[in-house]
């Protein structure tokens, strides 16, 4: 399978600050590649380098086999980019913004019109086509931004936190659209800091303080990095948290909704029984202890704790 994106030892420095630190990964054509990590972990910087907006400090990045900085102009037509912040025109209507994009990407007028009505239907933009972009709320602006980025049917689509600040319904709609695009063979490179959204991706990479700390399918991420996870339900929940924090076989305890998730060392067949015994000896009341599949959030919390913040650039190398 051909590679849509190849990144080798990519580093980006802003003065003393290392935003992206020796990152390497690749994305195959047709993948929905999820780029995860908290705010400030270097996701947006990486995506902006891949779109030719920023020059890499060192290392290489290629899109469709072309160097993203040297051959930037040859890549433009083949990629779609939806920036993290709304970067369309506030004083243009939704339709005018779409028309502007059609002009920039040379989508023939008739085809542009057909795609506009198609996108208007999928993203439910029909009723707001004649409204000025500045009068739209975040969710609608994001829908418009998504529509413009896929108007020219790019084989590779970069979405930088498309779902930030949008309501759950819009979020679901976005992932449906992303799924449809992938179905049509479009490679989607999407960043998010909402870990649950990672489940929609075919492959994931996790960024933390500028470094790539894990990579794999959602399944691999869950099973390889976090082996055993139990969920404890109790009222009140705090005594459970305190009791398990002290236990030697527990790697990590974290609140998860109204329950506690505890990660245990190595794969223990009797994990549930061990935790129950632990709680009983500590004299803590609980309702239920059950082994669970770790969520992406569990995986991230676990991985992030293992990778402490580097004190100075490259000091731990």
């Amino acid at each position: 399978m051909d590679l849509a994106v190849e990144v080798e030892n990519l580093t980006k420095r802003f003065g003393d600050f290392v935003a992206v630190n020796e990152v390497s990964f690749s994305v195959a054509e047709g993948e929905v590649f999820g780029f995860l990590g908290p705010n400030g972990s270097g996701k947006s910087t990486t995506i902006r380098i891949l779109c030719g907006l920023l020059s890499p400090s060192s290392g290489h990045a290629r899109v469709a086999g072309l160097d993203v900085w040297r051959d930037a102009e040859r890549i433009r037509q083949r990629i779609g980019y939806m920036p993290q912040f709304f970067s369309l025109y506030d004083d243009l209507t939704v339709a005018e913004n779409i028309e502007f994009y059609a002009g920039l990407y040379q989508v023939p007028p008739a085809l542009a019109l057909a795609r506009q009505s198609e996108l208007a239907e999928v993203l439910e933009l029909g009723p707001v086509l004649d409204r000025l972009a500045r009068t739209l709320s975040t969710g609608w602006r994001q829908r418009l931004a998504l529509a413009t980025s896929i108007l020219h049917r790019p084989p590779l689509l970069f979405l930088d936190e498309p779902t930030s600040g949008v309501d759950p319904l819009t979020r679901r709609l976005f992932w449906e659209v992303i799924g449809d695009l992938a179905h049509e063979g479009i490679t989607v490179f999407v960043t998010t800091h909402v870990m649950d959204e990672a489940e929609h991706c075919t492959r994931l990479a996790m960024m933390h303080y500028g470094r790539l700390i894990a990579e794999g399918t959602p399944e691999e991420m869950r099973t390889e990095h976090v082996q055993t996870m139990v969920e404890v339900q109790a009222h009140p929940i705090w005594p459970v948290l305190q009791a398990l924090e002290k236990a030697p076989e527990v790697v990590e305890v974290a609140l998860f909704g109204d329950a506690v998730h505890a990660e245990l060392r190595c794969d223990l067949n009797d994990a549930e029984a061990r935790v129950e015994r632990k709680l009983q000896t500590a004299g803590v009341a609980y309702e239920r202890v059950v082994a669970v599949t770790p969520s992406m959030e569990d995986v991230f919390v676990s991985l992030a704790r293992r990778w402490e913040r580097p004190t100075a650039a490259g000091a731990d190398r």
Binding site: E73, R76, Y81, Y89, E99, Y101, G103, Q106
Partner: protein
């Protein structure tokens, strides 16, 4: 170069201007206000200059001198002074521009064939007005004196002969109306101000809005973006040029005597040069305010102060005279004033047109080279 992309940029830029109140103000209101302000407000011509008289002689002769001044149409008698102290008071209040003091022995001295001294006290606070007024008064008094001399000679049975008979002939602007001088100058000011104000924001604005990211990641090439962005302003600035030519003709009756084609061509060159300066600062400045401020400072101030619009270049210090050659407006002003007033043609004006052409090419090139598709 792809025209579809270029036109997409141009169309969007036009919509920004049509929906922005400030832009509309600059495009429509500014030229009209400037034209009326400069055309009507600034007038170096003097009419009905108010003056006062202290007539110490009170004879038929002294009254005919006063009458001579009043009937010329340039002077208006406001006050007859009886007390010496009133002179300073009247000038201090700025009630009059000058005070004429006729000595008690004027008739006697003239009768005896000796020169008589008439005193004129002028308010010099406004130097321009004072010097113009002094010229008018001298002329009027000289004419009166000549008339007296001729009458004297006639009474003696002699005909007026000999002496200098000075008859200045003013070319190009025969009745010396300053509006003919100001309207062409105003076109230069207008094009400078308008082009600078409009384009100085057009790139930096995109950076502030965040929409520059959209342009950078798009396949549109730098020249397509740049030309697409300038195109609406070329149209606007050219329309405003036609507007001021039309207004000059209709409101002030000032029409170019020379080639209109050359007028349009050089105006086009000049507006391109001005737009290029605005674009240049728009690409290097980080905020709209800074871009507007710098552009205005760099273009408008030298254009008004140094180009010869307000002050003659020859009366400036040598350093400024040299600098004025590097201001596009200097050359443009000379060209359009020649076209408006003298009807000069390319055979005479070519060095200036060439200088303007060089400025335009250099400025557009610098602006284009500075423009990058980078954040």
């Amino acid at each position: 170069m792809n025209y579809r992309r270029l036109l997409a940029v141009a169309r969007t830029e036009s919509i920004h201007n049509l929906r922005d109140v400030r832009s509309l103000f600059v495009i429509v209101v500014l030229p009209v206000v400037l034209l009326l302000l400069y055309g009507y407000g600034i007038n170096y011509d003097l009419r009905n200059v108010p003056f006062a008289v202290q007539d110490l002689e009170r004879t038929e002769l002294s009254r005919s001198l006063i009458q001579h001044l009043v009937s010329s149409g340039y002077f208006q008698l406001r006050q007859v002074i009886h007390d010496q102290r009133q002179i300073a008071e009247s000038l201090d209040r700025a009630a009059v521009v000058f005070v004429l003091v006729i000595p008690p022995d004027m008739g006697r001295r003239l009768g005896a064939g000796r020169p008589a001294k008439v005193q004129v006290l002028v308010d010099g606070a406004d130097t321009t007005r004072a010097s113009v007024a002094v010229g008018y008064i001298e002329g009027a008094l000289l004419a009166f004196s000549g008339k007296l001399g001729a009458e004297y000679l006639a009474r003696q049975g002699l005909s007026a002969a000999g002496g200098l008979d000075v008859r200045p002939v003013v070319l190009y602007n025969a009745d010396l109306k300053s509006v003919r001088f100001i309207v062409p100058g105003l076109m230069a000011i207008l094009l400078t101000l308008l082009s600078g104000l409009l384009t100085s924001t057009c790139i930096v604005r995109e950076r502030e809005w965040g929409s520059f990211e959209t342009l950078v990641t798009s396949p549109a090439l730098p020249p397509e973006i740049l030309i697409g962005k300038i195109l609406p302003y070329v149209v606007i600035a050219f329309a405003d040029t036609l507007l001021s030519i039309g207004a000059g003709a209709l409101i002030f009756g000032v029409v170019p005597v020379g080639s209109r084609l050359l007028l349009l061509f050089t105006s086009f060159l000049y507006l391109l040069a001005s737009l290029a300066i605005g674009i240049f600062f728009s690409t290097i400045m980080r905020t709209q305010r800074l871009a507007i401020l710098t552009t205005t400072l760099v273009t408008l101030v030298p254009t008004i102060q140094l180009s010869g619009f307000a002050f003659p270049i020859r009366s400036q210090p040598l350093v400024l005279q040299v600098i004025s050659n590097f201001i596009p407006a200097t050359h443009y002003l000379i060209i359009i004033r020649s076209l408006y007033l003298k009807g000069a043609d390319l055979l005479v004006l070519w060095p200036r047109v060439l200088a303007l052409l060089v400025f335009t090419v250099v400025l557009v090139t610098v602006a284009a080279r500075r423009f990058r598709k980078q954040l």
